[in-house]
């Protein structure tokens, strides 16, 4: 049975998601930051985490973005194979939602039309859209606007199979250590292990959209997530990189089968404003 969805619904939904995710953190991130403010050991670190609490309150009450970098619009579209879109081009309707959301929501337009010519498109389009076709007749939209202070500190490592688990941990710790204060800690660390070059990077991005209080379902990966998080917080980089016991709020790792010759590891770092909103049509 084919289900028909008008693309205008997609536009309206994306528009709302742009605004919602930039004014309010999702519940998991909100709770992770509250918990960090309670447990931070350094005095300056605690002061900064308290300021971040105050910042979230002001953003919520005054309807102002949590951070002025309202990001490049990253959108995961999981489309049921029994869905038929009508009323226009799907990709155009998604970008129209971004255009309206960033304009009507007083969000910053941070996209340039060409990486070298660098002329601002003035409406934050185009979005970065990842499509997957899944079973069923629903559409799951995950909206995750990404700021570039932390994006710039992200890395892809093409490790050798012999590097193994130790090599993976070192890669993640190196990326986080190099990022330091630039990535606006406390950060969330998204990791993609396996696949190929681009698959690892997309998995790392998707890992950032996982709730901060959820772990991998795979026991050996779950163990690594906990261990790496502990090691990162032992660095002492702390909130805003000014020392403290809270450097990362979560390490989320996704994995995929890979080639006999390879061990790709992508580390996508996000600041404490790790925005992710999900809607199902």
């Amino acid at each position: 049975m084919i289900r028909t969805i008008n693309v205008n619904i997609v536009t309206e939904t994306i528009k709302d998601m742009c605004i919602e995710s930039n004014y309010h953190l999702s519940k998991d991130m909100d709770q992770a930051l509250k918990k960090a403010a309670d447990t931070e050991e350094s005095v300056l670190g605690k002061k900064i985490l308290d300021q971040l609490q105050e910042n979230l309150k002001i953003a919520d009450e005054d309807k102002i973005p949590i951070c002025q970098d309202t990001g490049m619009a990253v959108i995961f579209m999981e489309i049921g194979q029994d869905v038929h879109f009508e009323g226009g081009n799907l990709e155009d309707s998604i970008n129209e939602g971004v255009r309206r959301g960033y304009t009507e929501g007083y969000l910053r337009k941070s996209v340039v039309n060409d990486p070298l010519l660098r002329e601002n498109t003035k409406d934050n389009t185009p979005a970065i859209i990842h499509y997957t076709i899944v079973a069923g007749d629903k559409v799951k939209i995950t909206f995750a606007p990404k700021g570039f202070g932390s994006e710039n500190m992200s890395r892809v490592f093409m490790l050798k199979p012999a590097d193994g688990e130790e090599g993976i941990k070192n890669a993640i710790l190196t990326a986080v250590s190099d990022a330091g204060p630039n990535a606006c800690p406390p950060m969330v660390v998204g990791v993609g292990i396996g696949g190929d070059f681009e698959k690892s990077a997309i998995m790392a991005k998707q890992a950032l959209t996982r709730n901060a209080d959820e772990y991998s379902k795979l026991p050996h990966i779950r163990k690594m997530e906990k261990e790496v998080l502990e090691k990162i917080n032992a660095f002492g980089i702390g909130p805003a990189g000014l020392s403290g016991s809270t450097t990362a709020l979560a390490v989320n790792i996704n994995t995929y089968p890979t080639h006999i010759a390879g061990l790709p590891v992508a580390v996508n770092i996000c600041c404490h404003v790790n925005r992710h909103t999900v809607r199902i049509l």
Binding site: L44, I48, Q51, L52, E54, N55, L56, I58, A59, D62, K63, I64, P65, I66, C67, Q68, D69, T70, Y106, L107, R108, K109, S110, R118, N120, K122, G149, N152, G180, P181, N182, C184, G236, I237, G238, A240, G241, L242, S243, C271, H272, V273
Partner: protein, 176 residues
């Protein structure tokens, strides 16, 4: 140590600032980031004047979100300062005294800080809603076509920042 300082941030002011000091800044400051720095540098190369009075100026590396009706500015937190490293030494040598941003600086910038008795402050990244409350006036000075990257002149009142690199080159990030 908590300190209250006023702009212009002169040599006399930086003499009293040490890495790790928590400061509250009041007065007029300028806002510029990547594209504006590139244009200012190109203007200098062509022998043109800078669009801002650079002597003892404080530049805040920031690109705000748009203001709602009746508001001074939108969210207004610092951007990563390292992207301005290529341009900062020239401006410091021309008299700029203070930079506000977040994140690491390179050796050329630190040398220019020492040479010119300047200072680098960090504001808390990702606290743009909170920091916007300390901005009481804002106007575009030039490069309006750059959108969020236009150069602004703003008035700040008790704007919170931390001395990360003082005029002797001591670097708070290195102590972490």
């Amino acid at each position: 140590m908590d300190k209250y300082i006023n702009t212009p941030i002169t040599e006399e002011v930086t003499a009293d600032l040490k890495y790790g000091d928590y400061v509250y800044i009041t007065g007029t400051i300028y806002v510029a980031r990547d594209a504006a720095h590139k244009r200012m540098t190109e203007a200098l190369e062509k022998g043109e004047e800078l669009p801002i009075p650079i002597k003892d100026a404080t530049i805040y590396y920031m690109g705000p979100s748009p203001a709602r009706e009746g508001k001074v500015i939108g969210s207004a937190g610092p951007t990563t300062a390292g992207r301005m490293d290529k341009y900062a030494p020239v401006l410091l040598d021309l008299g700029q005294k203070a930079m506000i941003g977040k994140g690491k600086r390179n050796k050329e910038v630190i040398d220019a800080i020492i040479r010119n008795k300047a200072v680098y402050f960090a504001a808390v990244g990702g606290a743009g809603a909170l920091l916007s409350k300390c901005i009481t006036k804002s106007k575009i000075i030039c490069y309006e076509d750059l959108g969020a990257e236009a150069v602004l002149e703003i008035e700040v009142l008790n704007f919170p920042a931390i001395v990360v690199i003082d005029r002797d080159g001591n670097n708070l990030y290195d102590m972490v």
